[in-house]
Amino acid sequence: MMKKPHQPGSLQVTKIVISLIAVLFISACASVPAPTEQIAISNEAVKNANSAGSSEFAPVQFRSAMGKMEAANRAMQEKKYALARQLSEQAQVDAQLALEMTRAAKAQKASDALQEDNRVLRQEIDRKTK
């Protein structure tokens, strides 16, 4: 009987506590639904940023979005839905920022090129008419 150090009463208490904790966990899990829609939205945002060429024009923001998206997907598999929602939301804004930066950089490039063209054209005309 040396193998029974615990009293039956304390064992009971421990069991109850463990069950309570388990219930709490389950209820926590149940209160946060899987953010399937958010994940889809974020995936779409990352895809858009990628096809716009953000890896070239906004590499930091784009990598951040990619990393967070992967982490969100992992969290989904592990059923850590609250974490998955947060990560995917952040991935979405990061991807959106990367996309906007890419579009801004491209627009600026086009603007610069046109202005340079105009300058050259004006110069050519001025020379011709002289």
Binding site: Q86, E89, Q90, V93, D94, Q96, L97, E100, M101, R103, A104, A107, Q108, A110, S111, L114, Q115, D117, N118, L121, R122, I125, K128, T129
Partner: protein
Amino acid sequence: MKKYISLALTLLGFSILAGCATPKNDQLADAHHSYNNAAINPQVTNLAALELKDADNTLNKADYALVNGESTENVNHLAYLAKQKVMIAEEAAKRKTAELAVTNATASRNLTRLQARTAEADDAKQQVANIQETADQQALALAAANARAARDQEIIAQQDVLLKELNARKTKRGLVVTLGDVLFNTNKAQLKSSGTRSMQKLADFLNKYPQHKVLIEGYTDSSGSESLNQKLSERRAETVRNTLGSMGISNERIGTQGYGEMYPIVANDTAANRQMNRRVEIILSDESGNIGKR
């Protein structure tokens, strides 16, 4: 004393309340700072109002979460979203500014091209006008030259007609009009009326062409004394000069010379030949008034 204590307690209570009302979160404060910077940028408020509004909404959610005592992690999350959205608004404003510049630059380019085309067209038009003007001037000059040539031709034709009427001969000294002996009274210096008519034609010519001068030379045959013949030839030349003078030709244009028996045209062997040698020759000068010497 009691009053002071209660005042101090009230102040303490306020400060505790105030502390509770504004819980601290560095990331949220940072997000607010970013937002405030963007909100005073007219480029962002004008061109990215929607994006900025979205950032503002998220910022409010973060504030609300902080006040409601939600977890720091959740507040940080919302603050991060807000901050990223502020940056999105700023980038959107940059993009739209650049897009506007592209639109303006395209318009400006089209305008510049138009100006260039207009300048080229004007230039070409000017060149055509210049060529036309040159052609017009050449045509005018040609017409003037033709008119001059025609006038010269006419003058020459008129002169020819007059000279023909005068029975002028072309010699190396110039045109020579010979008044035969028959036009003078025998052994006299007086002109017959037929001789006067001949002179009138010459006077008409000289009046019409004032640049011409004449030299009048008198000749006789060999009959009679030499001195008499010399005098007769001189007088006959003088008579012609006076006749022309009476017809309005000034003396300055008329030279006279008597040669007597010298320079006969034919031998003085028959009466007919002698009559040919009795004559007055009138030599017309060229247009400069020169007369070839004998």
